[in-house]
Symmetry: C3
Subunit: 137 residues, 3 copies
């Protein structure tokens, strides 16, 4: 019994302090035109200073556009190379499937590195429940 | 004593894992013109995919306008029916009382579904302390 | 052994509930022109209603400008007096050092009350890991 309570307490301690070991953060992008390029630069700087950070980018609404095949910033800069470089460093990019339906977009129109999630906002809320911080670029 | 420590550990476990049972999230609206309509759509999608989510919308500054009687989106869409439908699904909409004083607004000018909170930003901070995630539409 | 587990559980309880004692929140500013003045007003209101709140403002990108010597809002209002008053009430203002390099700015160009952090986004993520809520003005 005593051992059991020690185990319980230890497990609990591990759960509570897990978030101290590695910073986790979700970047929220719902307007690609104003947020994507600066957001991608933020991500690169983030990993340069904290290479072990676990980063998930969740996009929905007008935010998914930068993950589409051939997408470019108004300045003419292509997004795909920037995204690929970040995926290679462990960043996950997710697209909201409700947005796909509402905007009649198909998964095939997105770059191969894109992942999909049933609802962007539900995903953002759940990640925070799991200890992720939140950054809106 | 052993039993006591088990109880303590269990209570603790319950406290720590409470947030896993139900996702809680605060939506922050401080500019109704750019955020309210897309935010209300986000909320509907959120509850469609996660019906048990506990959602509080906190508005302040220019964000309170969509909760006023007769408020409409620039496109002409009335907000009140959208808000009522979400309230019926458990969403709470809150208006900052400091904003009321600064903008000389009265509670009577707001729809019946609106709740009030002494300070919008204090409320947003406190909800996060209580395990709420944060989403800025 | 029993005592040890009690101590462990108590320590754990203390850690888990620490955030209930004092609200902590990070304000994120990455565009001074649109966020700084309203953000500074939010901060003042925040402390008026919750004087014990621990508040850190992290700025990066175009968000650092309001902390530079002589900075003014487009309306002509000087920022420094507002910032000084908030520092006197315990608010910390931080500037991202990556931004300094990218924009060729020097620490000497900032007001004395400004602090510096290696990376704004890393800092924002880490503060949330430490129990800070997040507000984007």
């Amino acid at each position: 019994m005593r051992v059991k309570s020690m185990v319980l307490a230890s497990l609990l301690a591990a759960t509570c302090s897990l978030s101290l070991a590695q910073d986790k953060v979700v970047y929220h992008i719902n307007d690609a035109a104003s947020q994507a390029l600066s957001g991608l630069r933020n991500l690169r700087n983030h990993l340069d200073v904290d290479p072990s950070a676990k980063i998930t980018v969740v996009s929905h609404g007008e935010g998914v556009d930068f993950l589409m095949e051939g997408a470019k910033h108004p300045s003419g800069a292509a997004y795909d190379a920037l995204v690929s470089a970040l995926v290679a460093r462990g960043v996950s990019f997710e697209v909201c499937e409700i947005t796909l339906r509402n905007r009649s977009l198909k998964k095939e129109q997105f770059i191969q590195e894109a992942n999909f999630t049933p609802s962007g906002v539900v995903r953002i809320a759940r990640l925070q429940t799991q200890g992720f911080g939140y950054i809106k670029p």
